[in-house]
């Protein structure tokens, strides 16, 4: 896929990799994600010395060790909080958070929610394999209902959380979904995220071939995927299917429904048109709810809007107050408003 802007530095994808041995299981979807991250960064031309990858705990969170950038492998769920501190003191850096479904939505849910609602200028990549991998196969908050795992041998009973719905619910200014096995699309989405100013939340469907193999087969198998996923493109109608003849229409009661073009007089003009720049998160939220098998699952950019960035607003306050109060005078500050002299 084409580069979106001219690179600032000219490096090859391999230049973004560290010399640490990559220690994910053979066949893990994380390999593809790591490869596409390097490609996307090379394509947009980011300087590795200006980049920081920050992660929590879990398989996905090993990623910073494999990058030739700065990095912090943090503690479970807290990567957005570490990133918040760094972001506030350093406007110049390009900060990426790497998290997983358990790290980001279970133990670290609070931090994710607040990093998003503040619109911090950071990227958040959530590798969603719908399982706990590093701890060997327990149920995850994104696992489907009735899932049998080592911690739910009789089937899980808690409802499944939908990461993109959460992000849009917190009014993330950039929300996208992509899949480890669709490298071109993955690279495109990462480039889009790289260019977003503000919080960019990217959910990456990722296959755990050890504990949840085939979780996204319906999205990745060549024979069925065109009928089961729909690629969102700004300003374009929601069309999908092997023959490109199916679409999403808004039916009665604002309920989305799958329709076949040409059947019952349905034409292209009846379909929903995607608008990633809509100020209201309503359309993006509705699209994030579309789930296989009732619907094709959307991939692509749900939402990409411009909004004031938290760290920039803080900086603006510093500048405004410096202008109002004048240059700092530490002695005056220490002396306080009502000092007295003793001779």
């Amino acid at each position: 896929m084409a580069t979106l802007t001219t690179p600032a530095v000219s490096l090859q994808p391999k230049d973004y990799g560290s010399n640490q041995e990559v220690r994910w299981c053979p066949g893990c979807g994380d390999y593809s994600i790591l490869a596409q991250i390097k490609k996307a960064l090379a394509a947009v031309g980011r300087d590795p010395d200006q980049m920081v990858f920050i992660s929590g705990i879990g398989c996905s969170s090993r990623l910073p060790y494999y990058m030739a950038t700065y990095g912090i492998h943090g503690i479970h769920g807290r990567a957005p909080a570490i990133a918040s501190g760094l972001r506030l003191v350093r406007q110049d850096l390009d900060i990426w958070v790497v998290t997983g479904d358990g790290d980001g939505l279970s133990i670290g849910g609070n931090h994710l929610l607040h990093a998003i609602r503040r619109n911090l200028n950071i990227k958040i990549l959530m590798f969603n394999n719908r399982i706990y991998g590093l701890t060997k196969g327990q149920v995850s908050p994104t696992s489907e209902m009735n899932k049998k795992t080592v911690s739910t041998p009789y089937g899980s009973v808690g409802a499944q959380i939908n990461p993109c719905s959460v992000a849009i619910g917190c009014e993330a200014t950039f929300v996208a979904r992509t899949v480890d096995m669709l490298p071109k699309h993955l690279e495109y989405v990462l480039q889009r995220a790289a260019h977003h100013r503000g919080v960019a939340f990217v959910e990456i469907y990722q296959n755990c071939n050890i504990f949840n193999d085939g979780a996204y087969k319906y999205m990745t198998d060549k024979e069925v995927r065109d009928d089961n996923l729909i690629e969102l493109e700004h300003g374009k109608a929601l069309i999908f299917g092997k023959n490109g003849d199916k679409g999403i229409r808004l039916g009665s009661g604002y309920r989305p429904e799958v329709v076949k073009l040409g059947e019952g007089g349905v034409s292209l003009y009846d379909l929903l048109i995607h608008d990633e720049k809509a100020t209201s998160p309503a359309l993006g939220f509705m699209l994030s709810r579309l789930r296989y098998p009732q619907f094709p699952e959307p991939i692509g950019v749900f939402r990409a809007i411009d909004a004031p960035v938290y760290d920039a607003l803080i900086d603006d306050q510093v500048k405004r107050l410096t202008a109002e109060k004048g240059p700092p005078d530490m002695q005056k500050l220490l002396d306080g408003p009502d000092p007295w002299e003793v001779e």
């Binding site: 640490q20 910073p64 807290r78 002695q331």
Partner: protein, 628 residues
């Protein structure tokens, strides 16, 4: 003693007849009322006037945990105590000499602390059937002999305030609220305090509400005139200014001093201060103070929780800021995991714990030396962190400043322990000159050719390589790292090497810790060892015992980890060791464990400081051989 029933001043008595002034050397005054009565405010005004007048002083606010406890109830009583003198003052004092009680509940709660024969000023208007019932009085203490033996002054403050502020045109309810300034006026007269600082404060506070400003001034002046003219007071008092070292002075509270210490440290290193915190009593005032100073480039982050605040501090430190976080005990519990990460990644930052009564929510507004052992060991694994404890409100400034000096020199998080008593207490402070404060040298200029993330200098500190630097890209994290290279390592011997290196580094901080000094002879029958906020009380108690001829000395520890190099040797020069603490013996445990000495404890966990008398009594009993 005299129980004078008094009527409001009449036109005859208001003729100006100055009453005699008695010179005294010190006084302890407590204002007590309902938490809605504005007692903290009048206490602060009295303190400001006293500080500017030039007395040395120490204050102790004591307020309920609820913002609005039921009006008139015992649980809703709020108090503010000030001890001021013409010589040095180290504590807010034990027994109160003048008590202002705005309602029956305040009287009931505070009367036990008033010395026999002391002055009691009460708002008699509040002693109605409802007020008495709320306080649990079955008969009126103003009339039933309860107050025999005190100099009682019954003043109908509510009524007088309403009458005095009539020209301001307030609604009756608002007018009645000015009674606290009437009470303040009476005490101003009683102790001959200057009125100007309070008038200046009123100008600043109510500049846009002239009627409120006027009403408060009228109430204040009415109180002063009342004292001067009413026949209840025969004499008033003057405490001459203290003879203190020349310089610029201000009044400072502990939390303010902590905030300024953090800022001054960043200033002396040409760094930006980053303070991440989650609101918690009694630490929030540090956050409130720092956020005022954005023009100093201070970045303040009210995080979503305590964990996030600690993590944000780590992120800020990685980015090169002077990063700090502040909290109290329950917040320290939550920060523990991230503090472990801070130790592992070896980044400089300061963690302030304004201790309060625990465990759990405990006593949020009350003081306790609750968390020394938590600071020492409250994290999993071998996780050493240097600890400094402030010893007075103004010392919080130096504790915070020194914490950054150590943090940067040794690339380590540092814990500063203050407490609710220091945080909210205040005292006059001879303000240091910024130029006299030491520079804090920071080195981020690292040669990429030789850079290794976990190479160490003479202090065992690793390099502080900042993201964005050319050629220094490296990864840090919670997993054990290979010595020198910083690569992830599961090697068993490497882990032991790294555990020992981190311990050796914190032990090496002792080189930056001054030798322990003693108050008193360096050998004798008894050494009293204290730490943190009990300094003033213990020092005063020891001084008084020394004046009585007792063979007792005092060591007050500011550095708890590592402890001063000469401490073990000092301990062995005394026959007995007594460790007074507002806990069940945490320093005691450390001293016994580290130095194998048979020290004994004086322990109190009532949410209140020691009294001087309590410490003196225990010293006497120890000297008498009670523990032998």
């Amino acid at each position: 003693m005299s129980t004078t029933n008094i009527n409001p001043p009449t036109s005859e008595t208001s003729t100006f007849k100055p009453k005699p002034i008695a010179e005294i050397t010190s006084a302890i005054v407590r204002f007590a009322g309902d938490s809605g009565d504005g007692m903290q405010l009048v206490g602060t005004q009295f303190t400001d006037a006293t500080a500017i007048f030039g007395n040395d002083l120490a204050t102790l606010p004591d307020y309920p945990a609820e913002i609005r406890a039921p009006a008139g109830s015992l649980g809703g009583v709020s108090g503010f105590q000030i001890n001021f003198a013409s010589s040095e003052v180290y504590t807010p004092g034990d027994t109160v000499q003048t008590l202002v009680a705005m309602n029956p509940a305040a009287l009931k709660v505070n009367l036990p602390d008033l010395e026999r024969g002391g002055i009691l000023i009460v708002n008699s208007d509040a002693f109605d059937a409802t007020g008495l019932k709320l306080a649990g009085y079955t008969s009126n203490p103003l009339e039933d002999g309860t107050l025999d033996g005190y100099q009682v002054h019954k003043i109908p403050m509510s009524r007088l305030a309403k009458e005095a502020v009539a020209p301001a045109g307030l609604k009756p309810k608002d007018a009645e609220r000015c009674k606290n300034f009437l009470a303040l006026g009476v005490t101003f007269w009683l102790y001959d305090r200057p009125i100007a600082p309070t008038l200046k404060w009123l100008d600043a506070k109510f500049g846009s509400k002239p009627e409120i400003r006027l009403a408060n001034e009228l109430a204040l002046r009415a109180g002063i005139n009342y004292g001067n003219t009413a026949e209840m007071f025969q004499v008033h008092y003057r405490v001459q200014p203290a003879k203190t070292a020349p310089g610029t002075y201000r009044k400072i509270r502990g939390n303010e001093a902590t905030a300024l210490g953090l800022m001054a440290a960043a200033w002396k290193a040409d760094r930006k201060l980053f303070y991440a915190s989650y609101p918690i009593t009694p630490a929030s005032d540090i956050l409130h103070e720092l956020v005022k100073h954005k023009n100093f480039g201070v970045k303040v982050f009210q995080a979503e929780d305590e964990i996030a605040a600690m993590c944000a501090a780590i992120g800020g430190a990685y980015g090169g800021a002077f990063a700090a976080t502040g909290t109290s005990g329950p917040g320290m519990d939550l920060k523990a995991e991230a503090m472990g990460l801070a130790v592992m990644v070896e980044l400089p930052m300061v963690i302030i714990n304004v201790q309060r009564g625990g465990p759990s929510t405990g006593l949020p507004t009350k003081t306790e030396q609750s968390d020394l052992l938590q600071a020492l060991g409250g994290r999993h694994g071998e996780c050493p962190i240097p600890i400094i404890a402030a010893q007075s409100p103004s010392d919080c400034f130096y504790a915070a400043f020194e914490a950054f000096q150590i943090a940067v020199k040794y690339m380590t998080p540092v814990i500063v322990l203050t407490d609710g008593y220091l945080a909210n207490g205040s005292e006059p402070w001879r303000v240091p000159r910024v130029d006299d404060l030491p520079r804090i040298e920071v080195n981020n200029d690292i040669d990429p050719e030789t850079f290794q993330p976990y190479a160490r200098d003479g202090n065992l500190a690793r390099p502080w390589a900042l993201p964005g630097s050319k050629g220094l890209a490296h990864r840090i994290g919670g997993l054990e790292k290979e010595n020198i290279t910083g690569r992830v390592s599961y090697d068993p011997l490497n882990h032991e090497t790294m555990v020992k290196l981190r311990a050796a580094k914190v032990a090496k901080v002792v080189e930056s810790v001054p030798d322990q000094k003693l108050l008193g002879p360096d050998t004798g029958d008894l050494l009293v060892v204290s730490w943190g906020g009990t300094y003033g009380t213990v020092r005063t108690a020891v001084e008084r015992m020394q004046a009585k001829g007792a063979s007792v000395s005092h060591a007050h520890l500011r550095y708890l980890n590592p402890m001063p190099a000469n401490l073990g040797e000092l301990l062995k020069r005394f026959k007995r060791i007594l460790v007074p603490e507002l806990n069940l013996g945490q320093l005691l445990w450390m001293l016994r464990a580290q130095y194998l000495v048979d020290a004994k404890g004086l322990n109190k966990v009532q949410g209140r400081p020691f009294t001087i008398a309590e410490v003196m009594d225990r010293i006497q009993r120890t000297l008498d051989g009670e523990d032998d």
